[in-house]
């Protein structure tokens, strides 16, 4: 499978909302308060209001379920969702992003699939998205 760089996403999150043990695992919600994204074909900022619903499964793996709104530097809004897997034991952190937009310039986002390589940094999570070609 070949891919090409799409963007690098930096998320700023507010203090965690700890929902705690639920039937599926331990649920923590990370509210998104901002961030930036940057790539050859699109760049801009992350709007406040999204979040990442993170469930720690009984086998120790974290399941991610993120929703966020991106605003490009030329004013287009892009709805981003991803599901993902984070396994700290094996340093595996991968996501499956999807996009929706009404902006014709960014319509290509409606027609592609992507994979994200995630990393937890001291100042927040960073995701490198690659488009599946």
């Amino acid at each position: 499978m070949t891919s090409r760089p799409l963007l690098l996403l930096r998320l700023a999150t507010a203090p965690i909302q700890e929902i705690g043990p639920t039937p599926h695992g331990t649920l923590s919600i990370f509210p998104i308060v901002g961030g930036t994204f940057d790539g050859e074909r699109l760049r801009g900022k992350v709007l406040p209001g999204g979040g990442d619903w993170v469930t720690r499964r009984p086998d120790g793996v974290f399941e991610l379920d993120l929703r966020a709104t991106l605003e490009t530097d030329d004013g287009a809004l892009v709805y981003l969702t991803f599901s993902g897997v984070r396994d700290d034991a094996s340093h595996y952190f991968r996501t499956l992003p999807r996009f929706e937009t009404a902006a014709p310039k960014y319509d290509f986002l409606n027609r592609l699939l992507a994979v994200g390589l995630g990393e937890i940094r001291p100042d927040g999570p960073v995701h490198v998205f690659e488009e599946l070609l």
């Binding site: 499978m1 891919s3 086998d59 793996v61 599901s83 993902g84 897997v85 396994d87 094996s90 595996y92 991968r94 996501t95 499956l96 999807r98 319509d107 409606n110 027609r111 592609l112 699939l113 994979v115 390589l117 690659e130 599946l132």
Partner: protein
């Protein structure tokens, strides 16, 4: 992005149920009648019954594929697979596919992202990975080349 081969999945589809025009596009349900998967770490058959592909032709001409399948390995483990995909291409190519013609898969975009669930210890690694696939749409059903995302 680094990947490594996970398996090739060949699916046999039964005649589809045309649900028709729905609020998000045109819905078609393609039941899966069977199939095979084969890779270095797992191989077996697709279990018919609950397996199907819920297809949505969007108003922008892109086909969304929402597949669920149950896989049974040659040593008896059951694996639940969920895949989300997109298929689109030039109008003449999509028309040829619709007729069931043989079309070079390089002429259209057919990619999916995949998650697995299993309770079998030998295949627990599948619970901890995401996978991507390239699809080759054949008249008798698609062939997916599935890679693990490393």
């Amino acid at each position: 992005m680094q990947t490594r081969p996970l398996m090739t999945l060949q699916v046999r589809v039964a005649p589809s149920h045309d649900v028709g025009a729905v609020p998000h596009g045109t819905r078609r349900v393609a039941p899966i009648a069977g199939g095979r998967f084969d890779g270095p770490r797992l191989r077996g058959v697709v279990v018919a019954g609950p397996s199907a592909d819920w297809l949505l032709l969007r108003t922008d001409g892109v086909l969304e594929l929402d597949l669920r399948a149950t896989l049974q390995t040659d040593d008896g483990a059951l694996i639940a697979m969920r895949s989300f995909g997109l298929r689109h291409g030039p109008a003449d190519v999509m028309a040829a596919l619709a007729r069931g013609d043989a079309v070079d898969p390089a002429r259209y975009y057919f990619r999916t992202t995949i998650r697995f669930e299993t309770s079998h210890p030998s295949y627990a690694f599948l619970n901890r990975l995401v996978a991507v696939a390239s699809g080759d749409r054949r008249a008798e059903g698609p062939i997916y080349t599935i890679d693990e995302v490393l």
